[in-house]
Amino acid sequence: MNAIAPFLELSDLGPGTALVAAVVIGIAFGWALERAGLGSAPKLAGQFYLADLTVFKVMFSAIVTAMLGAYWLARFGVLDLAHVYVPDTYLLPQLAGGLLFGVGFVVAGLCPGTSCVAAATGRADGLLVMLGMFAGVLGTGIAFGSIAGFYESTSRGSMTLPQLLHVPYGVVVGAVVAMALIAFWWIRRFEPSFDAMHAADRARSSNATEPTNRTPSPPRFSAGEKVPKADEGALERTAREQIAASASSFGARPPSSGFATFSPRQKRGGRRRSIGVRRRKLLAWPALLLGALAAFAGSPFRANHATVDVERLAAAVAHEEDHVTAIELAEWIRGRKPALRVVDLRTAAEFETYHVPRSERIALESLASTPFRSTDTIVLISGGGTHASQAWVLLQALGHRQVFFLRGGLQEWIDDVMNPTILASAPPRAMAEFKRVGEISRYFGGVPRIVDKLEPRPADTNESVDRSESSTSDAAAAIRRRGC
């Protein structure tokens, strides 16, 4: 069965359709966020004081739902996962950006998406978060020159957890479902005690501030209405009840105790509609089942059994349309050729020692499950070139057309780009070409040399495409020492 989705990639729908779809999907997105209560800043901020775990619950049930849906639709061939855009990984920028983002989140009480919902539902604080966000992005953009180096650092391409852990995709899906359900179960058990803790906190602080009559109350609105004084005795009673209830929940769970029975929010007047523990279990079981099955159901990526048009491949090889030279690749990288993916097939250790700038490491085994876009230009690199040319056939079989391997492997890159050498007695035309190559070489930190006598390179013969691995590694290590 041919995949029919993503609709916009696999059929001829115009850009206008995409924008209409954007508005419709956005409306559903905004509706879902508002229904969950995520347009209310105190509710979101409550996540960071363990007072309201709505953010966590909504976020992880959404992730589990979409992940399982995408996996199974792909597994049954409806959705082609290779055409779904996976956010790129940049380790350090995302670590630092994430920390900053979290700080901003707890100060603002809203994240970018939910600030739009808050503003749309009349909350002025939501509007201010939107304005702040805009100012932050604009300011960072203006000062981008000073962070550009960091911004581009530690790139790992569109790396996924299955690729990182070298574990089948379905197993990771199953593990994420299991972790989410354990977290939900844990929340159900301990959330009442968090609530009791906060109620006790409130009761205590209301006693302390009694003379001023400023009773801390649950998050309030200030559209002019006065906050009524809470019945402090009642508050304390509720707190005591809750502490007692949660104490028992730490030990043996009382009979027929549902999460709903414990929910202090229900006691306080039903601010949130809970569907009760039985119905929640009805939701958890299918997730558990689909997750467990995914662990055994194999790769969601299509076409592990592909057919090859032998004549077309033979023609591509004969016309030398199957490879690029090191200089050509260097020009592509320097010219920032759009949608270029430089894939290094060597081992992690070899990759760490030295790799071509802007290249990403993908093991040969996980090449078939790597999502490439149809617009990507893929260049394959291996030590000597053999693995790369074999991978070229595999990717061609999977239907990728813009695939090339680096002729001569990394060794040719080292020889021609990093250490270009020419005889002083070379003819002027060769010298002019060498000048051009030298400029590219220096861009990559190479050292072009004009010598009187050429030293023989290791295994510099035409028939041995696969040069000895050790000589490539040594050469790569030498470049590493040079300080690239």
């Binding site: 850009p15 966020l33 849906g69």
Partner: protein, 173 residues
């Protein structure tokens, strides 16, 4: 006037989460991409920068990214965010939750809350640029697609929030 109470209670968070997950799945199936929010801010900021100083914006690699193609004002995420605003408004209206107000913790003034909102938004803006996304585009979307960077961002964002929370406790508790 009594303390404001939502006219209708919020949905069960797990059900709402499943609803949100189905919206995200629909985005994968229809568009081949997930949801987002900070990209809309980046795109409109680029549009503004290009209107104010075209040459400098084009020379800036961050703004230039959004200025190619159909231009910053035809960006998909901008239309999606317009939808979010419409959807949020309609949902609040239907549930009787639309209200002109400043939402804040019990111990903070209205002006201070608005200051916090702007400052927090600005810090999030810096973080979102560095990380190339936010809770929607990076955490939610990439989380469901098992992107390494997305899970790293998610863990870092929660860590940042929990570490900083005690310092701004007065704003919320």
């Amino acid at each position: 006037m009594s303390e404001f109470r939502p006219a209708r209670p919020y949905a069960d968070p797990y059900l709402a989460g499943i609803g949100l997950g189905l919206v995200l799945l629909a985005a994968f199936v229809i568009m081949g991409r997930g949801l987002g929010a900070s990209g809309a801010f980046a795109s409109s900021a680029s549009g503004l920068a290009a209107a104010a100083a075209p040459a400098r914006a084009a020379a800036n690699p961050f703004f230039a990214r959004y200025l190619g193609g159909d231009g910053p004002w035809r960006e998909w995420l901008l239309f999606e965010i317009a939808g979010v605003i419409i959807g949020g408004f309609l949902s609040a209206l239907a549930a009787g939750r639309f209200r002109l107000a400043v939402e804040r913790g019990p111990r903070i003034g209205r002006g201070a809350r608005l200051g916090y909102a702007f400052a927090g938004g600005a810090v999030m803006g810096i973080g979102a640029v560095l990380a190339r996304g936010c809770t929607s585009g990076l955490a939610l979307t990439g989380g469901a697609l098992l992107s390494v960077g997305s899970w790293l961002f998610m863990i870092a964002a929660f860590a940042g929030g929990y570490l900083f929370a005690p310092l701004v406790k007065k704003a919320w508790r």
